[in-house]
Structures are given as structure tokens and as C-alpha cells.
């Protein structure tokens, strides 16, 4: 504490170095002596001196509120720090578990992508189409919308015009297992009375109603 009013100070100063000592650090004037000198059985008077603090000094006196703020602040910081640490390490575990989850999902994704790519390979599609009795028509016909002209000569595909003719000649070692499964399924489907082989049906599809035509002009 800097004492700017030090020069006019009349109050006993309690320096830090003397904490605990209540002794004034200046010599009292010998009031007693005259008293003793006066004698006369009068009790010695110890004059009570109290120095009125100046306004400045009053302002400088530490207030309890400040201390409270500081202590509370420190506490708040400590608590915040603690919560932050807890949050961080919680986050670390969460990250770790999410990363693990992502790894598992990536694995699942890989399994499904592999399966998808495998099933959409031309070999598998052709085999599946054939097992459903589908045939290919190599005589495409086009309908030109601008004038309704039919381009090309329509020819019905023959019932035996399968793409592979039953011979899958392009190997795909990835398909070995699923192919067997689908073949078994196809065999089961063929035996089921509800699925008549498509190849026995007439290739002419009877049309019901008017021919569809574009309504926009």
C-alpha cells in the first residue's frame, strides 16, 4: 500500500514488517511524567489518541467484496478448468467410439459396395435375365415423335434368342457363390406352378385399348 499521505500521517502506521505488533512506532510524548510530577494521588491519565483517517486512506482500506470477487474468480476458473478437462476427455472417448463406429460402417459399406458391383456385373445380369426367360431382340424399331414415323422393321425376337445361349463364357470368379445361389433359386422358381416359363408364352403381346400417344404437341 503506498501511502501518499505519509507526510501528514498522524496515525500509528502498521507496516507489514511489524504485523502483529500493536506498538506504535513512534515515541509517545511523556504525558505521564507531568502527571506523576503532578502526583497528588491522581491516577495517571493515558490519553486515548485516535487518528481520524483521511478520505484517501478510507478509500484505500481493502474491502471484503474485492476479496470475495477474487476468491470466487479463482474458484470459477478452477471449476471451469475442471469441467473443460472432463469435457475434453469425454470428447476423446466419444471421438474414439465414433471412429470405431465409422470404421465398422466403412466395413459394412465396403461389403455392400462389393456385393452391389458384383451383382451388377454383366455376367450376373445376363444370367439373371435368362433365368427369368428374357430374350434379346436385335431388330430395334424407333418411333420418331416429330412426325410419328416408324423407323426400322419390327421383327419379333425368337424365343431362343438369349444373350448367352446358356453358355456363360466370360468368367468372374467373384460370382461363383452367388451364381450357384441364383441358379438354385431359379430352379425352385421354375418348379413352382405359379411361375410358368416365359419362353413358352407367345411372343406377341396383345395390346388392350388405344395406342398411347404423346398428348403434348
Amino acid at each position: 500500500m503506498t501511502n501518499t499521505a505519509g507526510a501528514t500521517m498522524a496515525r500509528p502506521r502498521m507496516s507489514l514488517g511489524r504485523t502483529g505488533s500493536a506498538q506504535p512506532d513512534f515515541d509517545l510524548p511523556d504525558y505521564d511524567l507531568p502527571g506523576e510530577r503532578l502526583g497528588d494521588g491522581l491516577p495517571a491519565l493515558t490519553p486515548r489518541i485516535e487518528i481520524v483517517p483521511s478520505r484517501t486512506q478510507k478509500r484505500q482500506r481493502p474491502k471484503i467484496a474485492y476479496a470475495a470477487v477474487v476468491v470466487a474468480g479463482v474458484l470459477a476458473i478452477v471449476v471451469t478448468q475442471l469441467m473443460l478437462s472432463i469435457g475434453l476427455s469425454d470428447g476423446a472417448y466419444e471421438i474414439s467410439s465414433l471412429q470405431q463406429q465409422q470404421k465398422e460402417l466403412d466395413r459394412s459399406n465396403q461389403v455392400l459396395t462389393e456385393q452391389f458391383d458384383k451383382l451388377s456385373s454383366p455376367q450376373n445380369l445376363a444370367a439373371s435375365a435368362e433365368s427369368l426367360g428374357m430374350v434379346a431382340n436385335s431388330a430395334p424399331v424407333y418411333l420418331r415423335l416429330s412426325d410419328g414415323a416408324v423407323l426400322g422393321s419390327p421383327v419379333a425376337a425368337s424365343g431362343t434368342a438369349t444373350l448367352t445361349g446358356g453358355q456363360a463364357l466370360i468368367p468372374n470368379s467373384l460370382l461363383a457363390a452367388p451364381m450357384a445361389a441364383s441358379a438354385a433359386e431359379a430352379a425352385a422358381a421354375a418348379q413352382a406352378p405359379s411361375a410358368p416359363p416365359a419362353t413358352q408364352q407367345s411372343t406377341d403381346v396383345p395390346w388392350q385399348g388405344a395406342l398411347p400417344s404423346p398428348i403434348t404437341q
Binding site: 475434453l88 476427455s89 470428447g91 476423446a92 472417448y93 471421438i95 474414439s96 466395413r107 459394412s108 465396403q110 461389403v111 462389393e114 458391383d117 458384383k118 451388377s120 456385373s121 454383366p122 455376367q123 445376363a126 436385335s138 431388330a139 430395334p140 424407333y142 420418331r144 423407323l151 426400322g152 422393321s153 421383327v155 444373350l163 448367352t164 445361349g165 453358355q167 456363360a168 463364357l169 466370360i170 468368367p171 468372374n172 470368379s173 467373384l174 460370382l175
Partner: protein, 590 residues
């Protein structure tokens, strides 16, 4: 206070001070040793204790076709290793919380049931060297098997993952896509051609971990950034590729051929839509294919093309203005040059055939072609062949691609001088023949042959996009006239029934070439081929078919049905409208 007492106090104080100083000194020295002298060593030791490294995968990129269908991709496969030293019975907690003890025998049986090994095999691996801490139980298992084994909760098993290459479409474009070795290095095909694009590099991350192995927040550092490989985008159409391979394979087997190729090229762009080889490799299972059948015949194997080469001679002569489609030739059975070299037609005829130029092409007369071809000097014809890229590999730069075999014109002997007009004495690849027909269909402008559209980087940009600048080889008139002459082969040639496609005008040329027996003479087997364009009125696609050494049919009729089927499929798949104008009626005889 006495003097003695004062001295003893001082001495005690001195001893105390000395002791304190000494202890502090010891601490200071120790502190310096730890903090400065041994700092590096201790830091390293502690770092080892709590730091961990993980490698992040920079996977090899995909190879995709022109619509994004994946032809080659990288997947993770798993290795399961065991520590035989710690193999012992263990407790397993089931889902309902019950605990059971599992013996190594049981565990081995359970592993074997998943991996397809017998229990004895697995047990053999585990007990082969009981002092060892490492043994592979099984390698390269897929995710499902890995998860099943992991769920067995066997404490002495360890798992690691490794990227592997897989080819979802199997042998579709297998010989073009190529394959990688077991170490992941490119060995053939596009894998090798685009290796720089495809290759990724693994990264490295370090972090500090807590007692339970969880990363301490904020300590993760990327030491090496992983680089994902780019995607090589091909011009191939995988569906068409499959169709071409399937059709070719069926036909080669039917006629008892040795090998065959089908090349489909887009006339207006020079892009290869299909490059089918038979036999071909399934890159998923390279070992199943003999080593000599693992490459791409279309790119790598030159052969004497025979009559399909006559289109080049015709276009050259027409371009030089030395003849036109109506030029008349009397083609004898045997034609003898003044210098003594002679050649003959494939079929005997007593009287000379009175043919126009178009008729020479339709009849595929060797003598007629030789006579017309000789209107040009050897040097001029060689120059045309060079301009048609018959002497250099295509722009694709396929690994081990052949550029054909053709001696410079000044080294030709008299016989070669004659035979090069009709495609003997010169070897080309199937790709070069397709490119020849592309040039004719495109008004004489040869476009660079394209197999790879480019390399798509992780950020979506395309790099390595090939140059598409064309080169005018012959005049548009000469090219169109040649196409019209080729059309007479389909309207009136011997293979017309097998070549016509209802609704479309087709221009094509048959070829039945004698095959070299490998020792400088011709053997008794043939290479049959067909190359052609459709629709002839506005050529869009080239299909070139080659079947070597057919047994049951020794003419281009062996290859013709493949041409017809593949061309039909190409036209259908690409929604090419049927031709509306009739074919020009070129006179073939006079």
C-alpha cells in the same frame, strides 16, 4: 549469553546451512542431469510409452468405364495372426452374460468353420512352434469372415488389414484392365499404363494415448498425409465389352479357333468402346490363365491382316487421283509383274474378271488390287501406310503395344511390293485395323486412338486428357468413295447374308489371310477377319473382328456373324437411327 554458547550455536547453524546447501546441490545436479543431460533419451523413452502411430490408407484408385461402372477397385482384406505362445483356454462371455470356457481345440474348430480350414489345420498352425509369438492363422479374408472370427472373442488372435485389388466384373475387359501383383504393384494393362494416376500413398498419424489406448485430445499429428489414388476413366463400355467378349468366345469355340479379337471404335471421336480378346484373363484369378494368355491380343499381337488391308490401298489410290470407283481392271487368276513377282486370286477362274474398282473390292481380287495398287510407287504406298499409322503403335501406349511389322519400302523385295497391296507381308494389330476404318469413316481424318479418357483426381479435376487433334490422311472424297466401295461387299459379296443388318447400311471388308508358320513361310492356317462401318451413310462405329486358325470354317464367314451381332448391338445400344437413303448402286463389273 556466554561466548561458548554463542560459538556452538554458530557452529550448529553452519552445519545446518551446509547440510541444506549440500542437499540442494544434490537436487540441482540431479535436476540438471534429468532435465538437460538425459533429456532427449528420457523424452524418447516416455514418448514410446504413451505415443502411438497409425497408418492411414491412401488407396489405389479405381478403374471405371465410360459410365462409371467400376472395373477395378481397392478393398480392405484382413489377416488373422495368433500368438502360439499364449494359446490357452479362455473364458467367453455370451450375449446373455453367461461365461463359458473355450479350449484351444474348440477355438480351432470354430475358426476353421469360418475360414474353411479343418480344425486340425488350424490347430497345426497354432501348435507348430509353441515358443513363437507370431503365426498367420489365415490371410486375406473378407469383412464378414473377419467379423465372425472377431466375435469369437479369442484373446490370442490379432487382426490387421491390408488393401487388395478386386475386379467386380471379372474377365470383362480383364485383358485390357490388367492386374496387380500380390504386393500391389501394377503388372499389366491399364493398371500398368495408368499406374502413376492410380497409385496412392499411405499416410502416418501419431498421437499420445491414455492408459486405455484412447487418444489424448489435441495430440494427434499427421506426420505424413495420405494421398488417395486417382480414378482412371476408360472409354470402354462394359456392357458392350461383355457382349463382344461373349459373342467372340462363343464363335471362336464354335469354329475351333485359336484366338480372336473384337475392337469397337467410335468413328467421330476415336474412342475405343470395346476391346475384346479371346482367351482373356480374369484379373481376380490370374493364376487360372496361362501366362501367355494374360495380355491383350488386340494391342500386343500383330498379324498379317489380309484383305481388310485392301481398303487402305483403295483409299491411297483414290486419294492420289490415279483411279476412281469405276476404273476398269481385267483381273486374271494369276498376275505376274514384269519383274517376275506374281500373285493369284484366292479362287480359281479361267477367264480374267472384268471388274471395276468397286468390283475388285467386292470380289476381293488380289490380282486386281495388286494391279491398282501398283499405280502408286512403293514409296508412295509406304507413305500412306505411315500416315495411316500402320508402322507405329497407337496413341494409347498400351504396355508392350505393338506397332505392327512393316519393312521400309526400299527394303521390300518384288514379292513384298505386290503382297503389301492386299495385306500380306505386312503385320498390323487389330487396333491399327480399327483405326484405319475409323479414318475412312471420318472423311479421311484419322483421330488418335483413345482408351483412357483421363485421370480423375480426388478433387474432381481431369488430368492426362489425351490429345484429340485429328490428321487428314486422305481426302474426304477418297474416304467416302472407299466406304461406298466397301458397302458393295455387304450388298453383294460372298458373305453378304452374314453381314447385313436389317434397316442399316453397312460397309465392311472380309479378310482371310494366310498365317505365317513362324519360320518365314506360310502355314496352312488362316486368320479370318472382318472390319467395317455402320451406318454406311454416316459412319458412327467401327467393328473389327479377327479369329485366328478357325477349323470348321476357313474363311471370313467364321468372323462375319460376330461382326453382325456386335455391330447390331452397338447400333441398338447407342440408339443409332436406321438408314433412310438407299445404298449407291456402284457397278462392279463391266
Amino acid at each position: 549469553m556466554t561466548a561458548v554458547a554463542s560459538r556452538s550455536t554458530k557452529r550448529r547453524a553452519a552445519v545446518a546451512v551446509f547440510a541444506v546447501v549440500a542437499i540442494v546441490a544434490v537436487f540441482v545436479v540431479r535436476l540438471i542431469t534429468i532435465q538437460i543431460v538425459q533429456a532427449d533419451e528420457l523424452n524418447a523413452a516416455s514418448f514410446d510409452k504413451f505415443s502411438a502411430q497409425t497408418s492411414t490408407y491412401g488407396l489405389r484408385g479405381d478403374i471405371v468405364d465410360n459410365d462409371g461402372t467400376v472395373l477395378a477397385t481397392s478393398v480392405l482384406r484382413y489377416d488373422v495372426t495368433a500368438s502360439p505362445l499364449s494359446v490357452a483356454a479362455f473364458d467367453r462371455t455370451a450375449a446373455d452374460g453367461t461365461v463359458s470356457t473355450v479350449t484351444p481345440d474348440q477355438a480351432a474348430a470354430e475358426i476353421g468353420a469360418i475360414t474353411g480350414q479343418t480344425a486340425d489345420q488350424v490347430l497345426g498352425i497354432l501348435t507348430a512352434d509353441p515358443t513363437s509369438n507370431f503365426a498367420y492363422v489365415i490371410r486375406n479374408i473378407d469383412v464378414d469372415a473377419f467379423r465372425s472370427i472377431r466375435d469369437l472373442q479369442i484373446p490370442w488372435l490379432y487382426y490387421s488389414s491390408e488393401p487388395q485389388r478386386t475386379y467386380p466384373n471379372g474377365a470383362v475387359a480383364g485383358s485390357v484392365v490388367g492386374f496387380v501383383g500380390s504386393d500391389g504393384s501394377a503388372q499389366a494393362g491399364v493398371e500398368q499404363l495408368e499406374n502413376e494416376c492410380l497409385a496412392g500413398s499411405d499416410g502416418l498419424e501419431t498421437y499420445q494415448r491414455g492408459a486405455d489406448g484412447v487418444a489424448i485430445p489435441g495430440t494427434t499429428e499427421t506426420a505424413v498425409q495420405a494421398v488417395q489414388g486417382g480414378t482412371a476413366v476408360l472409354t470402354l463400355d462394359s456392357d458392350l465389352q461383355w457382349f463382344a467378349q461373349q459373342t467372340l468366345a462363343a464363335r471362336v469355340q464354335e469354329v475351333g479357333g485359336a484366338w480372336g479379337t473384337v475392337v469397337v471404335q467410335e468413328v467421330k471421336t476415336g474412342k475405343l468402346l470395346a476391346v475384346a480378346d479371346y482367351p482373356s484373363v480374369d484379373p481376380n484369378n490370374v493364376d487360372a490363365t496361362p501366362a501367355e494368355d494374360r495380355g491383350s491380343i488386340a494391342f500386343q499381337a500383330p498379324f498379317e491382316p489380309g484383305s481388310t488391308f485392301k481398303a487402305l490401298t483403295a483409299a491411297s489410290v483414290l486419294d492420289a487421283g490415279l483411279a476412281n470407283v469405276g476404273t476398269q481392271v481385267e483381273a486374271p487368276y494369276i498376275f505376274t509383274d514384269p519383274n517376275g513377282a506374281s500373285t493369284r486370286d484366292s479362287e480359281f477362274h479361267t477367264d480374267p474378271l472384268r471388274l471395276t474398282f468397286a468390283g475388285v473390292i467386292q470380289e476381293s481380287s488380289n490380282t486386281g488390287t495388286a494391279m491398282l495398287g501398283e499405280l502408286l510407287s512403293s514409296e508412295q504406298r509406304y507413305d500412306y501406310m505411315e500416315k495411316f499409322h500402320m508402322t507405329t503403335p497407337s496413341e494409347v501406349g498400351f504396355p508392350a503395344e505393338s506397332g505392327g511389322i512393316l519393312a521400309p519400302w526400299d527394303q521390300w523385295d518384288d514379292q513384298t511390293n505386290l503382297t503389301t497391296t492386299f495385306g500380306q507381308g505386312v503385320s498390323t494389330t487389330a487396333i491399327q485395323i480399327a483405326s484405319l476404318y475409323q479414318t475412312l469413316g471420318n472423311g479421311g481424318v484419322r483421330l488418335p486412338v483413345q482408351l483412357v479418357e483421363g485421370c480423375r483426381q480426388a478433387d474432381g479435376t481431369m488430368t492426362d486428357v489425351p490429345d484429340t487433334t485429328g490428321q487428314q490422311v486422305v481426302s474426304a472424297q477418297a474416304a467416302n468413295d472407299t466406304v461406298n466401295m466397301l458397302e458393295t461387299v455387304v450388298t453383294g459379296g460372298y458373305a453378304k447374308a452374314d453381314l447385313q443388318i436389317p434397316g442399316y447400311r453397312v460397309a465392311a471388308k472380309t479378310g482371310t489371310a494366310q498365317m505365317s508358320d513362324g519360320s518365314g513361310a506360310y502355314g496352312d492356317s488362316y486368320i479370318t477377319s472382318l472390319a467395317g462401318l455402320a451406318p454406311a451413310d454416316d459412319p458412327q462405329y467401327v467393328v473389327s473382328v479377327t479369329i485366328a486358325k478357325p477349323v470348321t470354317i476357313e474363311s471370313a464367314l467364321a468372323a462375319a456373324p460376330v461382326f453382325q451381332k456386335v455391330m447390331s448391338q452397338v447400333l441398338k445400344e447407342n440408339r443409332v437411327l436406321p438408314s433412310t437413303e438407299p445404298a449407291p448402286d456402284l457397278p462392279t463389273t463391266y
